[in-house]
Symmetry: D2
Subunit: 350 residues, 4 copies
Amino acid sequence: MIRFNSDYTEGAHPLILERMMETNMEQTPGYGEDIYCEQAAEKIRELCKAEDAYVQFLVGGTQTNTTVIASALRPYQGVIAADTGHINVHETGAIEAAGHKVIALPSTDGKISAIQIEDYITGHYKDEAHEHIVQPGMVYISNPTEYGTIYKKHELEAISKVCKKHGVYLFLDGARLGYGLACRENDLDLPHLAKYCDVFYIGGTKVGALFGEAVVIMNDALKKDFRYNIKQRGGMLAKGRLLGIQFLTLFEDNLYFQISAHAAMLADRLRESLEELGVKFKMDSPTNQIFPILPDALLQELEKDYAYSYDSRIDEKNSAVRFCTSWATKAEDVESLIKRIEELYNNLAI
Amino acid sequence: MIRFNSDYTEGAHPLILERMMETNMEQTPGYGEDIYCEQAAEKIRELCKAEDAYVQFLVGGTQTNTTVIASALRPYQGVIAADTGHINVHETGAIEAAGHKVIALPSTDGKISAIQIEDYITGHYKDEAHEHIVQPGMVYISNPTEYGTIYKKHELEAISKVCKKHGVYLFLDGARLGYGLACRENDLDLPHLAKYCDVFYIGGTKVGALFGEAVVIMNDALKKDFRYNIKQRGGMLAKGRLLGIQFLTLFEDNLYFQISAHAAMLADRLRESLEELGVKFKMDSPTNQIFPILPDALLQELEKDYAYSYDSRIDEKNSAVRFCTSWATKAEDVESLIKRIEELYNNLAI
Amino acid sequence: MIRFNSDYTEGAHPLILERMMETNMEQTPGYGEDIYCEQAAEKIRELCKAEDAYVQFLVGGTQTNTTVIASALRPYQGVIAADTGHINVHETGAIEAAGHKVIALPSTDGKISAIQIEDYITGHYKDEAHEHIVQPGMVYISNPTEYGTIYKKHELEAISKVCKKHGVYLFLDGARLGYGLACRENDLDLPHLAKYCDVFYIGGTKVGALFGEAVVIMNDALKKDFRYNIKQRGGMLAKGRLLGIQFLTLFEDNLYFQISAHAAMLADRLRESLEELGVKFKMDSPTNQIFPILPDALLQELEKDYAYSYDSRIDEKNSAVRFCTSWATKAEDVESLIKRIEELYNNLAI
Amino acid sequence: MIRFNSDYTEGAHPLILERMMETNMEQTPGYGEDIYCEQAAEKIRELCKAEDAYVQFLVGGTQTNTTVIASALRPYQGVIAADTGHINVHETGAIEAAGHKVIALPSTDGKISAIQIEDYITGHYKDEAHEHIVQPGMVYISNPTEYGTIYKKHELEAISKVCKKHGVYLFLDGARLGYGLACRENDLDLPHLAKYCDVFYIGGTKVGALFGEAVVIMNDALKKDFRYNIKQRGGMLAKGRLLGIQFLTLFEDNLYFQISAHAAMLADRLRESLEELGVKFKMDSPTNQIFPILPDALLQELEKDYAYSYDSRIDEKNSAVRFCTSWATKAEDVESLIKRIEELYNNLAI
């Protein structure tokens, strides 16, 4: 079985494990106050061209989303997100468990627009009963989104403008950030994120690390006492250096960007091959997640050897599914997948 | 200015104030453990034909919804509701502040159906990632709904069946219950509610009382320790007898049903008069809230003397608005409103 | 049975019920945005000599404490209180349910001191692991305390100074405020509270009203969006004018202070009579709650006709109990209580 | 600088890193549903002699404590703990952030007794106002405690009995469990824990793993839907196999017990050497944490080369400090520490 069902089926990039081995018996202070975390944070500040960025490392995504959102909002505030957003769908109500409503705006491609956001916010304050309604206090976007789509620079800039105008924080979930920045359609870079967002994070779990998300806080109001929040929400790793070491390895020689590009290239290869076959896609996603629409009969055969994740039924005989590539995907596995789909596709056609 | 904008613009039915006066200097235990609460609870049990009903009195609706829902759910569970439901829209995130997601199902008339509910629940458990998604633990419906519509007996029965089948509680918000039970289309009564719901409440605030909601718990699992929850959520009134006295007055001689019928009759009168004029309605609501679509030009004049509440824009020149009658509405005020609308309507027509 | 076990056994001062009767059929906007609330707030601002005070009315004490504290604190902050404080003991964990630790400081008389508070706060920041410990964000004191004791002006001033110095809010729970201000040892008045506290409340429930607490916010940071918090925590009464009418009646002709003085005078009478008998007290409380130590044998007889509340065992044969007077207590009832205790006391002595 | 200030200053036992290397490029399902987690769980069930134990792996302690406690309690319930307990002191209010009061019982050595617990519980229900007080729903103990002390079998059995009798869950925090089970005074083993506790965990972070805590749930009521709770509280590691691999390595050949014994032996060596010198101890702790009382003058010199953690001032010239050994401590480092303390001690004596 070769797995394309998710982008976190393997361990970590070998260089990371190597570095962990080398440093294993060193004694360091705990809780992210070690030299590796310091160096990794400094490296990230450099790459963001943001000296005043406050960088902290957490273990996983749900935890990071909850910690950032709960640390920013007042109790009566909610967070605006696409209805498909991870925090609205796949975190078992973690945001609500921290007391906050996710204000879900409709989305078909995982994205929300500056106009949608502004309409919602101005609508809120126009409503006479607005004190009876959750106040929007933050906007959450993910880039790439859960559907593999990305925000273009002008879109992010527009959202940022609306947020600033209305005193609402902008938070970008970058769990798959590398795969977004590395894709061909992308025109964003880290300094843009640092400029437009109040806070964002750079995902490690899905991009080469064993685990770990690097939170970059730009807005001073969100920096104060942030570590209390990390500890309270269970995100402060005792042996914090494990996070520092991983992010240092990922960023000191551009490893993060190289391995992301590898995944993007293989996704392109797969996408183009399917297009050539005449396959349609549910989503026009330029990153490492692709959503082809395939005949159920084909999928039934395919899944004997290749794992994908099921997305949704399209019609009686066809379904949208998801294939992911990652830093760990082997080119030959992509080729064998393509070949197998071609075979099955052509057989069905007969 | 005559107000039709809400059904809680006046104080209480005079008999209630009278009874408060009479009993004012009596000394009673606090927190709802007095003889009046006991008698009112007994009266409600009789009317529900449910000896084992556990009855508790709370002050207001938000508090009651929060207390009931938070006392029933596990932390990872959410409550299914119409997207128009009060708990989803107009309680400033009180349910989320207690840690729970409101799982909003689409609704155009304030109602949700047994089929919608069952589809959602079975869909949840079919999803491989269901542990990553809030688990449905309760269904919340309001009767009448926020749009003045009501559930028929067969609809409530069907919802109840689905809930029992899937081990999900059914909670009915009866903030305006009297106005529902008293309307012509209704075929439900209190014993039906006691039979089909795990818990429901009989609203006093909007139906003749100064304030107060009588919670009726049928499911034993929800009875245990419920008073701890009331206290924690701030709903345990120190001078609890004020609630007992009010509900006793409302229920001992059918006052509750009489004054509800009064409001329903006046709403019918207003609805029929508008229909005769040719007015259309946004919502086919048979209770004390009616939602006519009126020309903006008319409304602009009307609002000089009559308060209504604005609902939504229908087209460039027309809006849906809401008029409420209540136990306190005077027949002559309804007549003068009708007359005024007729005048304005006919003038515009010219 | 004559009840001295609590100070909320009766309804409301008759003038309040009268005013409710008079205004009963008036139509007003809901949720505290009516003219009576406006006038009552203005009256309170005048009495506090604080034009910029922001005044809001809530229904009950638990609700008020939760709303004020939750609206002020960040998620990782806690509220310092005496270990005997109402929020630490008698609110079924309402503060914790809102996410915050009550940081309990030891107290024998219901009070905490500026020195205790400062030691705790400075100790917190000195601790290397302070990010692992709840950060003190607010100080909660009650005046009078749960043990009937009061803060003197110099004590309140000192606490206020410490709070300001360390950026911690000062919140005074005045559920029984009238009985404190009216007692002979008191040297505080409303303008002092407005000067020294960031927020405090004037209790109505225990001092002449049916229910209601008037929150006075002095610190601008706590005023913003406070009404969202009230709504979310279930404290926004639909017929808000009931609160306005009550507080207006209590404050427009000094009724609040007169009825408080009545209770204080009767408490003095009872206290002095017991002292003359040679009775000792657990607590040196100058307000409407007194805590005599009485023989169990006496109490067993006394409770046939007079209700008191049990406090604690002192030794094998004696217990401390609590008697409360209130605005509603009749002088003749106090005299009959005194007479009965004298009889029993003298009999036992034989 | 040689660090004795904590027991998590190094990485992981080399065998664990080796195993991670070996399995690094395997593809597995995420979220703890892989074969390694399954095998590790099975191994733990065997060692506990408890086929029906439900085993789940979480990343860290705060997270584990919060998840277990929040999943077990009703909203109005609290958890009884020693006032020195980790959840009461060093988790930045994580338990309260999940809505629950920590009911702190006084303790001088980190332990609480069956009698203390029973007195508290029976006292709660005897109190007439018990609905106004947080209900005890769980007992939390740590073994070893935060002060290195341990529970003996008869103590744990007695606590378990009290808990069962009163329908209160018993939860044992075993963050340092290995060091407890391996110490000379211990008479407990894993099957005892499985027998007496409703839920407990076996700590990996401090005993040889990079991170990870293995939760063992014995009470069926706590097993249902536990994984929803893990996900919601942010404790479900995407690459869950990292936890499985670590615990499998620790338990398949008794590595966990061997490395724990190593730490215990070195702690004994250090303790005995200090005793011989005449040093007194704040705490009679038989495990890997020892709390000698040393002259400040000595400590000032010592800390130039050896890190310890400061506990508390004993008198003007002496302080209690903490030294930890661990699986990673080298015997020669302990010897050099002993030698250095002896030198300094003898010098001071002159």
